[in-house]
């Protein structure tokens, strides 16, 4: 942001009205911050296809340009030449607004991401809440797309997707509570700075996992891709879209996955923090994108190797496992933080690694405790269900045996 402020000063000295100079600098800043993820997305399309190909023992795109790197550009050119078909009976204004809003919902998150110690869109006081808030606009875009298409499949698909998105937003928001609690601030820059001593992923691995799973569900990627289920259902809420509008839904999805990686990096693995990040801000950006890429790769790995869930399994998994676990997690961490404060284990210098250790160990033990309780509970439930199943089958099996 400092270069933009300098630009404003520069324009001001050049004889321009100070307010106008400020507006121009804000405008340029917005365009800069908003274009960056869009450019990254173009590269991501290649990464995604290459990665999926390798997992499936294929080569992937390799014809256009070196290593097929220009493939996304070829894709864009192809999509530009595709006809945009608007179905008869569509609610045109809403139908046309939905795809840009889908992308915008993801793009807006980048306004508050701290890219380096000194470069960020804005450092909002309520950054963490803003991130969750903006995600809800995407839900609305899905609803509008499904409804405006005037198609039964689209509307049914949209209903299912919306049910999925809103359900998984609950553990997502609950997971974000923990970094906010640990950092004592909702500003993402403050949350990153609070991780100088210790990344939050060590103190709160459960909330990192919760955030990762529910954000994977928010993108609608496998194993949570009921909305598309390309191989079984028709395409879901975007069935009536074609050409560039259809592509926008997918661009939004690709960007969403990477944005989730960036959020994981910022909230749990220290964002731009790394050696010499303060001296050379560019290094900070590289650290951030590197950490984000690791999370992104894990997400792709999950996507390409885990089979799809049924919708009832998905809903049960959320409401009967993730939500209770996230509630228990918040309570246990809150309790332990008070105990730590009373006992006096709170690090005096939060930036010191050694002083952070006792607090982290206690919180980690708390996490292990919560995880153990939830897993053993699920196990006993599963055992009961299997026993009930066996009991039901038993007479039938006996009859069968007699018949033989």
């Amino acid at each position: 942001m400092d270069c933009i402020n300098q630009l404003a000063q520069c324009l001001n000295q050049g004889g321009m009205d100070s307010g106008l100079a400020q507006f121009i600098s804000i405008f340029l800043g917005v365009v800069l911050v908003a274009t960056f993820p869009l450019l990254v997305t173009i590269l991501l399309i290649w990464v995604e296809r290459k990665f999926a190909a390798r997992i499936q023992d294929r080569i992937g795109p390799n014809r256009v340009g070196p290593f097929g790197l220009l493939q996304p550009i070829a894709d864009v050119v192809k999509l530009l030449s595709k006809e945009n078909i608007t179905p008869a009976g569509a609610d045109k204004p809403i139908y046309n607004l939905a795809p840009p809003f889908m992308v915008a919902a993801v793009l807006l998150v980048w306004a508050v991401i701290p890219l380096t110690p000194y470069h960020f869109g804005v450092d909002l006081e309520i950054g963490a809440l803003y991130v969750i808030t903006v995600a809800s606009i995407g839900t609305l875009a899905v609803m509008m797309a499904g409804w405006a298409s005037n198609n039964k499949y689209a509307l049914l698909g949209a209903f299912r997707v919306v049910a999925q998105l809103i359900s998984y937003e609950v553990p997502l928001a609950m997971a974000v509570l923990i970094p906010v609690m640990l950092a004592g601030s909702m500003s993402l820059q403050d949350i990153v700075k609070a991780q100088y001593g210790m990344w939050f992923v060590f103190a709160a691995p459960l909330s990192a996992i919760l955030f990762f799973i529910s954000s994977q569900a928010e993108t609608g990627r496998a194993p949570f891709d009921l909305l598309e289920a390309e191989s079984e259902l028709v395409a879901g809420f975007n069935i009536e879209y074609s050409g560039m509008k259809f592509a926008m839904f997918f661009a939004g999805e690709f960007m969403h996955v990477f944005t989730n990686g960036v959020l994981m990096a910022v909230l749990f693995t220290g964002g731009w923090i790394g050696p010499f990040a303060e001296q050379a801000p560019l290094l900070g950006l590289i650290y951030l994108l590197g950490k984000a890429s690791v999370w992104y790769m894990i997400s792709l790995w999950v996507r390409n190797s885990v089979p799809r869930l049924r919708i009832d399994q998905m809903m049960d998994f959320n409401w009967k496992f993730l939500v209770p676990m996230s509630i228990l997690n918040v309570l246990v961490i809150a309790f332990l933080l008070q105990v730590i404060k009373q006992v006096g284990l709170t690090p005096i210098d939060p930036n010191n690694f050694i002083q952070n250790l006792p607090q982290t160990v206690v919180l980690l033990l708390g996490n292990v405790f919560v995880g153990y309780i939830m897993l053993s509970w699920v196990r006993s439930k599963g055992r009961q269900a299997r026993a009930a199943d066996e009991a039901k089958k038993m007479p039938a099996a006996a009859v069968h045996a007699v018949g033989d």
Binding site: V31, L80, I132, M244, M315, W319
Partner: protein, 120 residues
């Protein structure tokens, strides 16, 4: 930068963010062929015309998920300030938060017990 300048940034971002993805769509509208006909614009439905309204009646289950989500969303309104101020708070505040969450968890378990969370 003062506070309102920050929000000016967000405001401009809200205007620009839908415009950037709209650009390729508009480009597409310029370059792409545009020859609609009755068959092309017909609703996609396995080869036969749509029978009846698109807006068939849906199950109540969707509404119930929306309902529980709404309640947890409103819960967030209170839990975020609580978590934010948590470092300055004492055990009393923890107790208040515990009771707050406990009451809401009751509602979740009620819905669970009534099988309202199960997708049929």
């Amino acid at each position: 930068m003062n506070v309102l300048n920050e929000w000016a940034f967000i405001g401009v971002f809200f205007l620009i963010a839908p415009l950037l993805p709209a650009l390729p769509i508009l480009l597409g509208a310029v370059f792409a062929p545009h020859k609609p006909n009755a068959i092309k614009t017909a609703t996609y439905e396995c080869g036969v015309e749509t029978v009846g309204d698109t807006w068939v009646q849906f199950k109540v289950q969707y509404y119930i998920y929306g309902l529980i989500f709404l309640v947890f969303d409103v819960e967030m309104v209170f839990l975020f300030p609580w978590a934010l101020a948590y470092k300055q708070l004492d055990f009393f505040a923890f107790g208040a938060g515990l009771l707050f969450i406990f009451l809401l968890t009751d509602a979740l378990f009620y819905a669970w017990g009534k099988n309202a969370l199960t997708w049929e």
